[in-house]
């Protein structure tokens, strides 16, 4: 009986185009028109400034809990930038910059993070799913969308986002397995930001990389410098082209860092060191890209003020939204309102009416006794 080594024949590439000091590897640089580079930078800057504004709004109690993206702008924008509007984006809950790029009005996102379900409604022609809160459960949906697109013969690629913690969930593995078996046009983008709330990557997985997890399912996996927008874009463009060309799914691991908290509800100083954060601040994706654009004389003047004005206008529109109609929640449970929900809606409407007009809240007088009815003392009083 032999005992031999089976050569699995795989390796994981790491891709970096623009280093932390703004040095460019011109042999790997993706070809992007100057005005597109500026658009990309603007979207990243908008993501950063919006995030900072949202933290302030949350601290003031004007919006609820949300997950900041600070530090992950290159991972988000480099990947989603490779999609067409007709492609589909499947977000988790930390893709603010990418969602704005895909057409979500800022005020809608603010509404969503203020507890308004209306904030989860994509426009009729928008090919994006709403935010998904349970970790990794959106990944099988991306595979199903891709299967359906392929079934219909549509020229569509699906891109799904998730974090490092999601790679521990069963749904991640089921999704990659299905995607591989079905050979569907899907790109999995893992934003490995090193921390799943307070749990560091080394306690999340014993794998050397997350990208290598793809190989077990027969897909290509690549690791990229997630703070290098040009590298993320280069890898994403390749993966999207592969999917579009009928060559199946890809897993991209963006090695990045969440500079802020997991959500506005936790305090990262409890679980990680200042030195670590400072080290990653040195690799900030935004300053790195700005440096590069400055060298090429492409960095526009006054962009921050322009972006801030756009955010301020959106915040004003958000704050002008009236109070939510409590009765509207019954309207989207089923296609048609079932009898029991109609009754519950009427109960709530009557209650609200009585609260507005206390005179109407008087109980009805008791009806005459019927068969089997015993009068209680309360009614006799």
């Amino acid at each position: 009986m032999p005992r031999k080594t089976l050569e699995p024949r795989f390796s994981v590439e790491f891709l970096s185009v623009l280093d932390a000091d703004g040095n460019l590897d011109t042999t790997l640089e993706p070809d992007i028109a100057p005005e597109r580079l500026q658009e990309l930078y603007r979207a990243m800057l908008l993501g950063r400034r919006l995030d900072e504004r949202m933290v302030r709004l949350q601290r003031q109690g004007r919006i609820g809990t949300f997950a900041p993206i600070k530090g992950q702008e290159a991972s988000q924008m480099g990947s989603v930038f490779a999609l067409r509007p007709t492609d589909w984006m499947v977000p988790s809950f930390r893709e603010t910059a990418a969602m704005v790029w895909r057409g979500w009005p800022i005020e809608k996102l603010l509404l969503f993070f203020s507890g308004y379900v209306e904030g989860g409604q994509p426009a009729p022609d928008q090919h994006d799913l709403p935010v998904t809160i349970p970790v990794a459960t959106q990944l099988p949906h991306a595979v199903g969308l891709a299967y359906a697109a392929q079934y219909r013969g549509d020229d569509v690629v699906v891109m799904a986002f998730f974090g490092d913690g999601a790679t521990s969930e069963g749904d991640f593995h089921e999704a990659l397995n299905f995607a591989g078996v079905w050979h569907v046009p899907v790109v999995f983008v893992c934003q490995n930001n090193q921390w799943a709330i307070s749990v560091p990557l080394k306690k999340q997985t014993h794998s050397r990389t997350l990208a290598q997890k793809a190989l077990a399912y027969g897909l290509p996996g690549i690791q990229v410098d997630g703070n290098d927008v040009l590298a993320v874009y280069a890898a994403s463009r390749e993966a999207v082209a592969r999917a579009r060309g009928g060559d199946g799914p890809t897993l991209i691991e963006c090695v990045t860092y969440r500079l802020a908290m997991h959500t506005t509800a936790d305090d990262p100083t409890k679980y990680r060191s200042e030195e670590e954060v400072r080290e990653w601040e040195r690799k900030d994706p935004l300053t790195r890209f700005a440096e590069h654009l400055k060298k090429r004389n492409l960095l526009p003047e006054g962009l921050e003020a322009e972006v801030d004005a756009e955010i301020t206008a959106a915040v004003q529109r958000f704050e002008a939204v009236g109070p939510a109609d409590p009765l509207s929640v019954f309207g989207h449970v089923y296609a048609e309102l079932p009898a029991h929900l109609a009754a519950q809606r009427d109960d709530l409407a009557a209650w609200l009416q009585a609260a507005r007009d206390p005179g109407q809240a008087e109980p009805e007088p008791p009806s005459p006794p019927m068969r089997g009815q015993r009068r209680t003392t309360r009614w006799q009083s």
Partner: protein, 326 residues
């Protein structure tokens, strides 16, 4: 018109609906070449190919999660979970996603999909192959829970479930798969969802049941008519959520007494909701406390004792006699 058992009747529904609508795909473990472990999807693979009748990897969350994605794109997946006892591995996809997409997206997306699962005991099967757990799904807003009680209504309800724009969990009692044959029309027949049927008229007491327990309730009603001269009205719910309260309440207003029969454990089960609806809607008509005849509140651990675990006609007859004598 052909005489079909429930397996063949369900197969006919799938076949005719798939011929009618190319957006319908069937997905599950062993549903393709093998035709499903109970043969409900038999021959569909040969007729429609592996793109429409998908032998999926062995992964419940993957099956339902991918089907949610397909439904969001506009396909109409009919998923098979091989046994309902394994559906907790995809319960999160049903509860978190299939049932919620319409509300979450404010009507922009909805999941038109059917999740078929064989449920229940009486066929001497293993643990996880015998459970009756419809109460978990009945508690979820946005889902419709359908439980046919025979070949003809199984076929007609599956047609309606496939055409319903919202997700439907479709429970098939294993005990009924081969239990009896009925005349099933050749042409497509559909039954409205969320509507109960009075399957036996009566004046003395209302028996409420669904799925395999309809047979038990009817058997009990026959015994009571013969031995006691008591006329029980038997209601087959067909859909347990949303519940057709109106039919149940109207019946109890007429009879004044109710006994509910189900195979799920008693506490917090469908019987509690039905009883509450009767109290809310027919309190003044009640002549006796409402009784529930159900499985016991213990997990199903083996088939050696299933005959005393699942309600039978004898237990129903005893409960009815106590209620009539109250």
């Amino acid at each position: 018109m052909a005489k079909l058992n429930m397996v063949k009747a369900l197969n006919l529904a799938l076949l005719q609906e798939m011929e009618r609508d190319e957006d319908i795909v069937v997905i599950g473990e062993d549903v393709g070449v093998d035709g499903g472990v109970f043969r409900v999807t038999e021959d569909l693979h040969r007729k429609f190919g592996s793109k429409r009748v998908i032998d999926s990897p062995l992964a419940e969350a993957g099956i339902i999660g991918a089907s949610v994605g397909m439904a969001l794109y506009g396909l109409k997946p009919v998923c098979e979970i091989q046994f309902s006892g394994f559906a907790f591995q995809c319960f999160h996809q049903i509860e978190n996603h299939a049932a919620r997409y319409r509300l979450r997206s404010q009507g922009r997306f909805h999941c038109q999909m059917v999740i078929r699962m064989p449920y229940g005991g009486g066929v001497r099967a293993l643990e996880h192959h015998t459970e009756s757990e419809e109460q978990f799904y009945a508690h979820i807003p946005g889902l419709t829970i359908v439980v046919p009680s025979g070949p003809r209504n199984a076929r007609a309800l599956l047609v309606s479930a496939i055409r319903d724009p919202d997700p439907v969990v479709f429970f098939e009692a294993k005990a009924l798969y081969h239990a009896a044959k009925e005349d099933v029309p050749d042409e497509i027949e559909a039954l409205p969802l969320r509507q109960a049927q009075i399957v036996r008229e009566g004046t003395d007491l209302t028996l409420v049941a669904y799925g395999a327990m309809v047979r038990v309730a009817r058997e009990a009603a026959d015994v009571l008519a013969g031995e006691d001269g008591a006329q029980c009205e038997v209601i087959d719910l067909l859909t347990i959520s949303p519940l057709d309260r109106q039919t149940v309440v109207a019946s109890v207003q007429k009879t004044g007494r109710a006994v509910i029969v189900h195979e799920a454990p008693r506490s917090f089960g469908p019987g509690a909701e039905i009883a509450a609806s009767i109290v809310e809607g027919a309190f003044l008509s009640l002549e006796a406390p409402i009784r529930r005849v159900t499985a016991w509140d213990v997990s199903f651990v083996g088939f050696a004792r299933e005959r005393t675990h699942i309600p039978d006609a004898g237990r129903v007859v005893a409960a009815v006699r106590e209620t009539l004598a109250y």
